[in-house]
Structures are given as structure tokens and as C-alpha cells.
Amino acid sequence: MVKTIDEINEKIKAGKALVFNAEEIIDHVKEQGLKKAAKQVDVVTTATFGPMCSSGAFINIGHTKPKMKITKAWLNDVEVFCGIAAVDMYIGATQIADNDPANALYPGSFKYGGGHVIEDLIARKRLKFKAQGYGTHDYPRQEILGEFTIDDINDAFLFNPRNCYQNYNVAVNCSDSKIYTYLGVLQPRLGNAAYCSAGQLSPLLNDPEYRTIGIGTKIFLGGGIGYVAWHGTQHDPTVTRNEYMIPTSGAGTLAVIGDLKQMKPSWIRGTSLIGYGVSLSVGMGIPIPILSEEILRQTCITDRDITAPVIDYGQDYPNSINKTIAQVDYASLKSGSIKIQNRKVPTFPISSYSKALEIANILKTWISTGDFLITHPVAGLPGRGYATGSKPFRGKYR
């Protein structure tokens, strides 16, 4: 170990911490050498920005007069989950508005849904509110119509059960017709390819074995402060890894939490995916404290060293056929085209690399100016021995 988190925090408080983003660190280590750089550098910032469907927000709107145990509720005509206590509810990012024709008019445009409700809350817009309850002795009220902004309610916090996928599929379409997916519009017969990762900037690709990122890690979430709450759903550290310990497919995920009242609409965006549905684009930045040479070495990963599986979303993906057409690296993906089956296929990102870079730089500024201290994780994320992994449905079909 070259330094401890406490030593790094002392330097941050004194305004003397040396911080690089995960792109800059690559050249810095090349110039200085690993040993020297590990002593100098305190923190490397990583980030990502893109649609993350498994997201949502808990809110508590405060008790009405008379009191009400809400069983069904809508915000701007988007239904929210009420199967929790009286005036607590959960706004699911992918919930569509009740009157949305969805894919009945194919491809559906999905202009407004849960993700947009969350964005509007953050933007301090007034939301239309409707709720019903069956009425009890202690909670007699059965109906309410009203409106509120985020400042009128008690609590609002984002709680996303699965964000920040460590790596992700590259989607192509081998069928004969155009398809609409959560990875964009895929042209037939390998007409294009879509990917969704910040590659060398992405948090879990810079700490591939979860040495520093764990439960309790303080992060940039949507423009405010958030925390890693748990490993995300479908967290699967057991997948195949390359010589740099980088998973060659999906792998780790994070469940994250943060105060919605601090967030900004530039970093949390309602997202409409044509023919697919509504989502929430999340901006996240995670600091990696440089505690050892090995941790620093892992942050020096480049797009060339990270590969992702090319999957056919025309036939294989929807039918749960585990088939990888090719394995391609992010340097090629970012160059604008990849070669598959001897064909040049144009590539397009769904996530935003430029936004991710902006976030990594904001976090760098927060740390360099002493505003953001590094946390000790209170527990690690499940590692390679994790038995659960992400397996297909194992219940019974009837």
C-alpha cells in the first residue's frame, strides 16, 4: 500500500490532492512510470452517462388532511408504485403514461413517462397529482387531486437498483427488417451496431475487481452527492475476464442512492427510446483512491484493452440464445466502424462519452478544491466467488 484513504483525505482537505480523470491518467502514468505516479496521484475520477432503465425515486409527499393511505397514484398521468406506507411512493423510471398508446402505433414514441417525472421534479416543475385510497379508520380520505413541486414534499431520493453496468453488449441486427430496441434503431443485415459504455472512463472498468468501489462509496450522482447502496441486480462478477481482469461482457452493477433535491436536470434526464419505452439517463461519477500501484495500474486501462460482445438483437437476444457474433474493442467501436463477418459495420454510441468526461472533470474539481472527501466502503461488492451471478429464470413455466 502506498497510501491510505485517510492520508488522501488529509491532502484533499488541504487542497493539495493530485487528481486525474481516467482518460488523463493513461498518459500521465506512461510519462512518469507506475511506481512514481502511484506515489504522486491521489485520486482518479471515472464517470458514465447513459440510459439506465433500472432507476427510480422514492418520495414522501407529507400527510394530507384528513389522512390518507394511498393505494394508487399518478404524477402527470404516470402511475407510481404505492404498495408501501401511506404517503410514500416510488416513481419507476420506465413507467409510461396511462394514455400512452405504447407500441399500438408502431414504433411508439414514448414521449413522457416515469423518467420524465423524475426530471421534472428535479427541474422544480409543478407536477399534477392524483391519488386514491380505500379509506380506513385512521386514514379516512379516499381521493385527492392536487399539485406539488419537489420543494413542497418531504423526501425525494433516487434509488436505482441497477446502474453502471461494468461492460455492455454491442447490439446488431441480423434479421431482414429494421428493429427498435433499447440500444437504438438497428438496421437489418448488420446495417449498424450500437454500444453503451464510457469504455476507459467507465467506473467499474477502472476498478474491475472492486478493490475500492464498495457499499458506502460516495459518488457524484445526477449532479449531487450519492452513495453506492448495494451491488446492483444481475451483478455477475463471475463472467469471463481478459488478462487485465476486465470482464468481456456485462458483469458487475451498482445499486445507488442519492438526494433528488440536490440533483440537476442536466445530469438526470427522462429518456424516450422509440419503439421501446421510457427510461432515465443517469450521470454518475466515481472516485478511485490510489492506494496501491496495482489500483493505479488498473485505472490506466485503455479502450483498446476493453472488449464487448456483439449480440444479434434481431433473433438471438429476444429468444435468450447465448451467442456472441464477435468480440470487439472500444477503440474500434469509438472509431466509427467495426469489422464483423468481413463487413464494415458503422458504430454508434447510445451513452454520451462527452457528458461522462464532463462529469469526471466536475468530480475532479470537487476533490481538488476540497469539497469532496473519499469514503471507506463499509462492505465490499460480491467478487468472483459470488454464487448467485446473473442466471436466467429458474422458476417453473406453467
Binding site: V185, T271, S272, K334, S335, I350
Partner: protein, 137 residues
């Protein structure tokens, strides 16, 4: 010297039966390429054309269109992107048939080349952030 212009023609309902494009070809030696055509239920029409011909013939064509009652406008002024809403993903570039959205490297910023736009509105339909607007006023 031949020059090309991309223009939007707005037809009032009374003119949609008249073969105006044919007249452009016949009278002014104009080559045309139909990029898009729309007709509303009331019979008004919108035609997006690329016209190629001698400069003086194009000028005469525009004069002719104005005289018969077809409103024209240059296309490149019609596409607008909200810089606040755009996050520079690549979804618009994925569907644009004419390469009006160019992903620049290494920064991965999506540049909009308005002059290339043919107003097909594919980007408007797919933009996840509702950042692009095309108007044919």
C-alpha cells in the same frame, strides 16, 4: 455552371393538381430530386426538392414558383437542435440518411451540419431527449 439548392415548397390546396415540377423541368431545364413529399387531408402539400441547374434558371424557377402561389424556403434553416437538451449520444447519427450528424473524435461530440439536412425528420422521431426540431413553416 450548375448549382444545387435544397428547398421546401409549400403548395396551397388549389395547386396540388398542377404538375409544377414538370413545368420547372420543361421551362427552365432544372434537374430535380424529390427528397420528401407530404400532403395533408385538406389538400395542402409540402415537397422537399433538390433542384440543380444554371444559376439564372434557378432564379427564374423561384420567380415562377412565387408567381403561381407556391411558397418556397431554403431547407437548411429549418433544423434546430437544443444545446441544453442534447447530450451528444449518437442516436440521431444512427438514423440520419445524409450524414447531417457527425460524431467528432476523440471528444465524441455530435456536430450538426445543417446544410446537409433534407428534413426527413428521422432524428426528430428517434432523439431520446427531444432535442431536435424541424419546422416547415
Amino acid at each position: 455552371m450548375q448549382i444545387s439548392k435544397r428547398i421546401v415548397l409549400h403548395y396551397p390546396p388549389v395547386l396540388t393538381e398542377r404538375p409544377i415540377v414538370y413545368e420547372l423541368v420543361k421551362k427552365y431545364d432544372i434537374m430535380f430530386n424529390i427528397l420528401r413529399a407530404d400532403f395533408s387531408v385538406d389538400g395542402a402539400g409540402m415537397l422537399l426538392l433538390e433542384l440543380t441547374g444554371k444559376k439564372e434558371n434557378l432564379t427564374k424557377s423561384f420567380r415562377f414558383l412565387k408567381k403561381v402561389g407556391v411558397r418556397t424556403e431554403l431547407l437548411s434553416q429549418d433544423i434546430e437542435r437544443s444545446e441544453d437538451r442534447c447530450v451528444h449520444c449518437g442516436v440521431c447519427a444512427m438514423v440520419c440518411p445524409v450524414g447531417a450528424f457527425v460524431i467528432t473524435r476523440p471528444g465524441m461530440i455530435v456536430e450538426l451540419k445543417t446544410a446537409r439536412c433534407i428534413g426527413c425528420e428521422e432524428c426528430v422521431k428517434v432523439c431520446p431527449y427531444n432535442a431536435v426540431k424541424i419546422s416547415f413553416l
